[in-house]
Amino acid sequence: MNNALSKKKMDSATIITAAIVLCFYVAVFIAEQFIAPTSMLFTVLKKGATYALVAVSMNLLNGFTGIFSLGQAGFMLIGAYVYGIFTIPVASRLDVYQYYNGGLVQFVLPWFVAMLLAGLVAAFFAFLIGMPVLRLKSDYLAIASLGFAEIIRAVMQWDKLGPITNGSNMLRLFPAFNDFNIKNADGQVTVYLSTLVPLLIAGLCIFVIILLINSTFGRALKAIRDDEIAAEAMGIRLASHKRLAFCISSFFAGVGGAMLAMYQTTVQAKGFTTAMTYEILLIVVIGGIGSVTGSCISSFLFVAASEWWLRFLDQKQMIGDFEVPLLRNGFRLVVFSIIIMVVVLFFRKGIMGTRELPDLIRGIGRKNKRPTNGRTEGVRSEGLAARNPRPTNSEDAGRNNKGAAAK
């Protein structure tokens, strides 16, 4: 990916990428000041930022380390709860924890501290659960991590933990995205930041993940994805590197969970279902397994399509006197599912494959002569390799040389 010779090109591509990202942030800031805050655009950007972070964190595991984990919703749940528990103002606690006398926690952390803590607690749980789970093979790991998410969901709803988690009741009244807006003494908003700040948080986190991916540790993770046995033979300790990826991914899923809490303004354990993990997985697949850029683009597209652009499919539509058939509540999701199945079956590389934005820019720069990545065929063919041992050429070679030995 990066090497000495094309360093100059890489640098210019990176600069252009940074410029594009910067322009995006400036545009969002300006838009926020002039467009009504109720616009769907901002809903999409806020939720999209949250999903982008979670999708990238999942991609770190599924795409870059080759660990097929389905525990994302569980770690988001932990993050959302930790954030909520430590940021509900003390004055509101009696209201929120009405069945538990205001609950046990009677102090408040600043939002960013709580968010960091959300990530750390999620990472800690990942550390614990990683010990038994990460030793498992692909599909067993998937189902075990999924099961873990279900266990977390049940534990959080347990009545006995109510003084901390509020049992099966919702957490609310904690600082949300709207609290990022700067208000004057009369309570009127002077500067709108409720969309920009979440985008910045997600951007920062994703930037850190990109740094990790391009570090020596990132290369080690990719080596594990490409060939576990070869990676181990090159001195890469599988257990510690997988655990590292799992914990970091969960850290950011936890932060993403905290962001989701801020976006929703309320949190309830029963919302963090397996379906949520599936949704994020599908976002990763649509974007391209192994592409951070892809996960980001696909998150915004996914949210925009489901919350905004395809909404019309859920209502009756008239063209003149003609009522378009099939359109009613739920049709949007059917269309959506079909699009996803088409991507899964026919466009397996997703939007980006394994390419990133700088690759695209570089591609345009030199009229794109890069050989296409043979990844989908070559890599992660663990399933096939398991039952179809690679062909060996030693058979013939051996036979041809038997004579030589006897001479």
Partner: protein, 307 residues
């Protein structure tokens, strides 16, 4: 004490039988394709919805039941042809993602058709009747399920051990490539596996929803996952393993559901402590423990990777 536990045990055996019928579908498909068919639980749910709509159309129930089973088997067949067959030579992760996609699609399709409302399952005479056994009142279906499950499993084992298609199935699950070279028609064996698996899920859906009386698009998710856990627990690929695993999980889950009341009546605890919350979680905890201790399950075979 017996009187307190017995009703939960009875329900547990019944639910266990229903899980067993679903679990067989998972274990057979995994045995042959090494694929966790995440959509299997949703096929089970679709079978329930089909029954609801058929009965609502005024069709007599004696006709509905066989039709539901045929339609379910057909759905299973189509899913394999459309969503899994094209990915057979792709990396394993692709097929698993496709299965998740199918699960998502089926749920959304049913959401669209039903409007996301609970659908009342038709009352099937006789098996819906109440019976009293050793002082516990239950539906006939509770007693019918384990018996029917055992009969179907015996039938299936006979099929697999004594027919040509059964032999082909065993061969394919042992060695995919070689059996292809030996002239076994892989495609028909795989289709047959899906047809049998979904047919049994259809039977399970009739028994299960007669008991729970309503169907919604998410109804299949949890029983599906639990049945899969049962299959892993028993050793994936092994039919007797799946059945034993399913009964253990069904019973354990229902005992936990009633554990508060049982412990309360036994005087162990003074007030309920909400253990029922963990009835689902227990299944998964069991899964993680068994995978950590014996990854191949109770009856699974050990395999060594070749380098």
């Amino acid at each position: 004490m017996w009187n307190t536990i017995f009703p939960y045990l009875l329900t547990g055996i019944s639910v266990g039988g229903q899980y067993a019928l679903i679990a067989i579908g998972y274990t057979m498909v995994y045995g042959i394709l090494r694929l966790i068919n995440f959509a299997h639980g949703d096929v089970f749910m679709v079978a329930g919805i089909v029954m609801v709509y058929m009965a609502a159309s005024g069709m007599p129930l004696w006709l509905c039941i066989p039709l539901v089973l045929i339609v379910t088997a057909l759905v299973g067949f189509l899913i394999e042809r459309v969503a899994y067959k094209p990915l057979r030579s792709a990396p394993r992760m692709s097929a698993m993602i496709s299965a998740i996609g199918v699960s998502y699609t089926l749920q959304n399709l049913v959401l669209y058709i039903t409007g996301g409302l609970n659908q009342l399952y038709p009352t099937i005479p006789w098996i819906s009747d109440s019976v009293t056994l050793f002082g516990a009142t239950t539906k006939m279906v509770t007693l019918v399920t384990p018996v029917l499950t055992i009969l179907l499993v015996v039938g299936l084992v006979l099929l697999i051990n004594h027919t040509k298609i059964g032999m082909a199935m065993r061969a394919v699950s042992r060695d995919f490539e070689t059996s292809q070279l030996m002239g076994i028609k892989i495609n028909s064996v795989i289709s047959m596996t899906f047809v049998i698996g979904t047919f049994l899920a259809g039977v399970a859906s009739i028994l299960y929803f007669t008991n729970y009386t309503t169907v919604i698009q998410t109804s299949g998710a949890m029983p599906g996952l639990k049945a899969f856990v049962a299959a892993v627990f028993g050793g994936i690929g092994s039919i007797p393993g799946a059945v034993v695993g399913a009964f253990i999980i069904g019973i354990a889950e229902n005992i936990i559901k009633g554990l508060d009341i049982i412990l309360f009546k036994l005087g162990v605890i003074a007030s309920p402590i909400g253990l029922a919350t963990f009835s689902d979680a227990f299944t998964f905890a069991l899964l993680i423990v068994i995978l950590a201790v014996k990854p191949t399950g109770l009856f699974g075979e050990k395999t060594t990777d070749k380098v």
